[in-house]
């Protein structure tokens, strides 16, 4: 049976989403009011 490590998966997916969304939003807003 595979190990129960879904929490690690969720942590990694959430961390990646936060970083990518934060940078995309920052880039979008900063470049808008250039």
């Amino acid at each position: 049976m595979p190990p129960a490590n879904g929490g690690f998966m969720v942590a990694a997916y959430v961390a990646a989403a936060v970083i990518y969304l934060a940078y995309t939003a920052w880039l979008y807003w900063r470049s808008r009011d250039r």
Partner: protein
């Protein structure tokens, strides 16, 4: 059409491509989490791979590759647009490397039992990250555009030279980091549904990178043109 109008259009196009890329990356989440089977020995943590590996592909090979190539071209041609493209790619690459360096240890903790190990690939990737952080700090510390471009081109090339070394680490050293499972000679050793997810993820993150790069570069061009106009005394017709 003036240079500013052209850059403004590029900014809009970059925004659209960025949104498309984000949408495709959201598709990776859906596909990986809901429609890809759980791996038998590693469990759900194996799915971190679908974020980690494509991010590493974009950061190391695409983003820092672009930095290296356009930095070399800048040193030969001295066209400021080449410097702006290289620096935009360095910034975007640093964001992707941040994700690589966060998702990797999370996977390592559950599979290896340790958040970090000083093995060749991990250590070299961390040093590469520091080189490009230094690159970005250097750019903000030098005001004169010509000198800033020249210094950062040299540092950008030196950083990019680390990439082939990082690629070879899993072959040259006894490292804990897994060998390539898709980009390897012969057939990939991955079952069909997982392979589809991996290939789609590589595609989605690549589009996302080009979207971010296009937007960042267009913004950098607009800022450079505005600075030039101010230096020329407000002549907006150029």
């Amino acid at each position: 059409m003036t240079a500013t109008q052209s850059a403004e259009r590029a900014l809009k196009r970059g925004g659209i491509l960025m949104a498309v890329g984000l949408f495709l990356v959201a598709g990776v989440y859906v596909r990986a989490l809901l429609f890809t089977p759980e791996e038998a020995t590693q469990g759900l943590a194996q799915k971190i791979f679908y974020i980690h590996a494509p991010s590493a592909w974009v950061a190391l090979y695409l983003a820092y590759g672009v930095v290296g190539i356009f930095s070399v071209l800048y040193l030969f041609l001295k066209d400021p647009r080449l410097d702006l493209l290289a620096s935009s790619s360095a910034e975007v690459g640093t964001v992707f490397t941040t994700v690589v360096l966060i998702t990797g240890p999370i996977w390592g903790k559950t599979i290896w039992g340790a958040w970090w190990t000083w093995d060749a690939r991990l250590t070299a990737t961390l040093f590469l990250y520091f080189v490009y952080l230094a690159y970005l700090v250097l750019r903000s510390a030098v005001d004169e555009p010509g000198r800033r471009a020249r210094y950062s081109a040299v540092l950008g090339i030196l950083g990019a030279l680390l990439v082939p070394f990082i690629h070879m680490t899993v072959y040259l050293f006894r490292t804990l980091h897994p060998m390539p499972v898709v980009l390897q000679p012969g057939r990939p050793r991955v079952p069909g549904p997982m392979l589809v997810t991996i290939l789609y993820a590589f595609f989605a993150f690549t589009v996302f990178y080009f979207g971010l790069l296009a937007r960042r570069y267009a913004w950098a061009r607009l800022k450079a043109e505005r600075a030039q106009r101010e230096a020329d005394g407000g002549d907006a017709s150029r």
